[in-house]
């Protein structure tokens, strides 16, 4: 610290750089990518607090409801954000969700595999597909937009064709009975802290069903995954060498390569990350619904990218945060559920989503200029 203050002093003495000034705490906050999303989510909660505060939206059941929706989106948004920071896109997230769903359902229902092996099989396929996306982008130098757009069609088509070929239908039901006693499935299908909710129910603090059990039975698995992934991704980005490599790969590919960052490996691993996150999403939804649907996850890739952008990720890469993407997902999840509690027609949700994204992009652009402006 003494070095710093001395040099400021010496510069002032020599009159060389009088333009230097102390940066305000506000400016420090402005330099954080998630600022916009933080402000946005506060506004959203204030809005619904006023408009829908007494409607049950913020009861235990209502809260878990919109948290569940936010968390599901958040799981893929965080992976999409990390990939965007690394300078690439993945448009195949939604199709990957559908594909992972049938990778779980068909072996379990039609081939008699234990559920846990089909879950592992789905994750193995995700790693393979993510690896393929990554290696295609890295080796050919083609924009990831094109490569993963192709994958969007290939996976969705394959999902539909394979499912119809094997089952003759587009849905694979019947998974719910397999969840019980499965060594892995509980990871994606168990509500946690049930004792807490039972206790709250017995104390008459939360709403009860007519049979006396609480309406909200526990924290859904999506929320636990969402929190864990947010923490994990933030730790990676801010605290590890690999995190620095992600920023470097997205910020300046050539520069990063010149100083020894394995840019190709970093990008491939991030593509695997989005495919694996899609599969986590698929596991939770398929086990919750008890069935796989070939159309599951449609357009989710765009929602994930939208949440990442609202969370402060730049489309050009090299800048963004996992917490921002998480907040972006919470904004979307809260509004999409909250709108039911207001008088507003739910058809307006997409309008809001688009407008929010547009505002975020303009805001982010301004922030980037601020961050990189030369003295």
């Amino acid at each position: 610290m003494s070095v710093k203050s001395e040099s400021i002093q010496s510069k002032k003495d020599s009159g060389q750089d009088e333009r230097l000034k102390k940066i305000s705490p506000l400016r420090v906050l402005l330099n954080r990518p998630e600022l916009g999303a933080l402000g946005g989510s506060i506004l959203v909660f204030i809005f619904f607090g006023i408009v829908a505060g007494d409607t049950g939206m913020f009861s235990a059941y209502g809260t878990l409801n919109f948290l569940d929706v936010s968390a599901n989106l958040g799981i893929i948004a965080i992976a999409a954000a990390m990939l965007m920071i690394g300078g690439e896109f993945d448009l195949s997230i939604g199709s990957m969700i559908g594909f992972a769903g049938i990778c779980i359902a068909i072996p379990a229902i039609y081939w008699g595999w234990p559920l846990w092996t089909s879950i592992i099989f789905a994750f193995a396929m995700a790693v393979l597909i993510g690896y393929f996306n990554g290696i295609m982008v890295v080796k050919t130098g083609l924009p990831s937009f094109i490569v993963t757009l192709a994958m969007l069609f290939i996976l969705r088509g394959a999902t539909l064709a394979i499912t119809r070929l094997i089952t003759g239908r587009t849905q694979v039901p019947g998974l719910r009975v397999l969840i019980e006693d499965d060594p892995i499935a509980w990871l994606f299908a168990t509500d946690t802290f049930q004792w807490l909710f039972t206790w709250l129910g017995s104390m008459k603090l939360i709403a009860l069903r007519t049979d006396g059990t609480p309406l909200a039975t526990g924290i859904p698995p999506s929320v636990i995954w969402f929190i864990a992934l947010t923490l994990f991704a933030t730790w990676i980005l801010m605290k590890t060498r690999y995190g620095n490599w992600i920023f470097a790969s997205g910020g300046d590919k050539v520069g990063a390569t010149n100083v020894g960052v394995p840019v190709g490996r970093v990008k491939i691993s991030l593509f695997i990350g989005t495919a694996v996150a899609s599969t986590i999403f698929a596991c939770i939804q398929v086990l919750d619904a008890g069935s796989a649907d070939t159309m599951r996850g449609t357009l989710k890739e765009l929602e994930a990218i939208a949440a990442a952008v609202v969370g402060g990720c730049l489309l050009t890469g090299g800048y963004g945060s996992a917490i921002g993407a998480a907040l972006g997902a919470i904004i979307f999840g809260t509004v999409s559920m909250g709108i039911f509690y207001t008088d507003v027609d739910t058809d307006w949700f997409k309008v809001f989503l688009g407008a929010m994204m547009l505002i975020a992009v303009v805001f982010n652009n301004y922030i980037r200029k601020k961050v990189t402006e030369t003295k």
Partner: protein, 264 residues
């Protein structure tokens, strides 16, 4: 031990039929600044890449601390202590000073599998190193994009030195800079040399090279026109040797001719 830290003897490099470099010889002592001068297309870029281990020379040898060296990759050149700062500087403007300084070589701490980037240590070192050059990084977590061109150049050089460069190869460090910024960078280069580094300064600007150089190697169309000590050569002579001189003379004649025609 010979008096030279590094010697490049009779380096040649061919690309198919094109002779990019032919019999270029350069020898550097510790603390010496050699300026490599040449016009565009003289072969400077090829020579830098050969020094940096990107290209393998087709003929000739590189001798570093009395040992013959063959580079298989840029990493090898870095490992023995030849640090190259390219024109693009390999800096990411959206990333902080610290994160740039340690990009690709982040200090780590902690248990295996849970190793973290030791950001406090990195911040301290980065601030200290930048302070030594007289650059006040108000906050090492500020983005590099907020720094001036000269400061960025100094950051890139400082990084190369910190990571063990004994020979610094600088590619056009002043070309994009104004007078004030350029002199700041040149000052830093002289300071680095005075601490025992050998510096190869590649430039086409004689006015930047002449004040700081100890010796000058002029490259023209892939061949060395010789290495000259400062006392043996004038600024004007250097300028004309870079082929720039002749061209400019010719240009002057042509302009006069045009003038004459217009006036008639």
């Amino acid at each position: 031990m010979s008096e030279y830290l590094v010697q490049f003897n009779n380096i040649s490099k061919f690309f198919g039929k094109v002779i990019a470099l032919k019999d270029v010889t350069m020898k550097l002592k510790k603390g010496e600044i050699m300026c490599l001068l040449g016009d565009n297309g003289a072969g400077k870029s090829t020579l830098i890449k050969t020094l940096a281990g990107v290209h393998k020379p087709d003929e000739g040898e590189i001798i570093f601390e009395d040992q013959k060296i063959v580079f298989d990759s840029p990493r090898d050149a870095l490992d023995i202590g030849i640090g190259t700062v390219y024109q693009d500087l390999a800096l990411v403007s959206l990333m902080s000073v610290t994160r740039n300084f340690f990009m690709g070589r982040e200090p780590q701490k902690g248990l295996p599998f849970f190793k973290t980037f030791d950001i406090e240590k990195a911040n301290t070192i980065a601030a200290e190193r930048m302070g030594q050059i007289g650059i006040d990084v108000r906050d090492p977590s500020q983005a590099v994009g907020t720094m001036s061109g000269g400061e960025r150049q100094c950051l890139a050089i400082s990084r190369a030195i910190y990571f063990g460069a004994k020979v610094l190869v600088l590619d056009e460090p002043t070309s994009a800079l104004g007078v004030h910024q350029a002199s700041m960078v040149l000052k830093y280069i002289v300071k680095a040399a005075s601490q025992g580094l050998a510096v190869i300064l590649i430039t086409h600007n004689v006015h930047h090279a002449y004040p700081v150089g100890n010796s000058f190697t002029v490259l023209n169309r892939g061949k060395s026109m010789g290495t000259f000590q400062k006392k043996d050569i004038s600024r004007e002579k250097l300028l004309s040797m870079m082929a720039g001189g002749e061209e400019l003379d010719k240009l002057e004649v042509e302009l006069k001719e045009m003038d004459r025609i217009e006036n008639n």
